[in-house]
């Protein structure tokens, strides 16, 4: 079971590119890419706050819990 980051979905809804979001959130594109591709081990609350502020959404819109056996 794992936490899946649905950042690309929210980025598509808000029509914002990776580079724009990286600039708004003040993290590097590399780190944002790591987050988007579910390679990150952890995320700081400050970063999550900045992403939610930039995308005007809730943490639950970005983070999803996927139990074992349901991973796609």
């Amino acid at each position: 079971m794992k936490i899946v980051v649905n950042l690309d979905v929210m980025m598509a809804k808000r029509k914002i590119s990776l580079s724009e979001l990286a600039q708004k959130v003040d993290i590097t594109m590399a780190n944002l890419s790591i987050l988007k591709n579910n390679k990150a081990r952890a995320i700081r609350f400050s970063t999550l706050e900045a992403i939610c502020a930039a995308l005007n959404c809730q943490p639950g819109d970005i983070l999803e819990f996927v139990p074992d056996g349901e991973e796609t």
Binding site: D26, I27, L32, K39, R41, A42
Partner: protein
């Protein structure tokens, strides 16, 4: 760690004050707090400084790497000279060097041919070749040479691991799994030297039937290299854990 230059600070209803702030070092967290919490602060990150580059031990690591390289070269040269050391009596060699030193200091006079300090290259090569040919003729010499080759090989491996670890320190990223593996190899080599010293001690006790071998440096190497191996193993475990923490830290967004 970032090197940050504050370009301007503007308080509400006041003109911007800029141009006179020096560069300061801030952690990324502090930089974020400064930009997120204060209104009207304009920052320019002039340089992202890897956290290791401002630590003085890197200079020590550079010096140490040079010394380790020199030791590795001496070790490899020593391999060539092992049969000569085994075949020629160490006491005679030492006495000859001592006599020349005393002659230099004016304490002891030697004939002109013995006082000569420079040794022709061809003579040195001939002695080395003769040593390599003679060392296999006696069992005691063979065992002594094998002991020195084993210890020399283990020492070379230990020095090579130290060189690799110092390289990563100079790169600014010492907490890697590779370094943990290097230290583990060094630990096994230390135990190899300790085991060789123990085998030599057992052989000498058996052959000489006295306790004299217990009073040599060889006996001291057994516990020293055993402890050194344990120390390397502990350091290997620590570096492995540190590498894990580093990876978690790097993948924390």
């Amino acid at each position: 760690m970032c090197k940050v230059k504050i370009l301007s600070i503007q308080k509400p209803s006041e003109p911007a004050s800029d141009g006179f702030y020096d560069e300061i070092n801030l952690s990324k967290n502090d930089k974020n707090i400064l930009t997120n919490s204060l209104v009207g602060v304009s920052l320019n990150v002039t340089k992202e400084v890897p956290y290791m580059t401002r630590i003085p031990p890197q200079r020590l690591a550079k010096t140490l790497r040079f010394m380790v390289s020199a030791l590795m070269v001496c070790n490899m040269v020593g391999f060539l000279l092992i049969p000569v050391i085994v075949v020629l009596s160490p006491e005679e060699l030492l006495q000859s060097v001592l006599d020349k030193l005393l002659h230099l200091l004016g304490v002891k006079s030697l004939p002109a041919e013995q006082a000569e300090l420079s040794v022709p290259l061809w003579w040195t090569m001939a002695v080395v070749i003769a040593g390599w040919q003679e060392v296999w003729t006696k069992t005691a010499w063979v065992l002594h040479a094998l002991f020195l080759f084993a210890c020399g090989g283990c020492t070379l491996v230990i020095l090579r691991q130290a060189y690799d670890i110092l390289d990563t320190i100079l790169e600014g990223n010492p907490f890697q799994v590779v370094n943990a593996k290097c230290m583990k190899r060094a630990a096994f080599c230390c135990w190899g030297i300790s085991a060789a010293a123990l085998a030599r001690l057992m052989a000498e006790l058996y052959c000489l039937r006295t306790i004299a071998p217990l009073c040599t440096y060889n006996t001291l190497f057994i516990p020293v290299f055993l402890m050194a191996g344990l120390l390397f193993l502990v350091m290997s475990t620590l570096f492995g854990q540190a590498a894990q923490l580093q990876e978690d830290q790097d993948l924390t967004i």
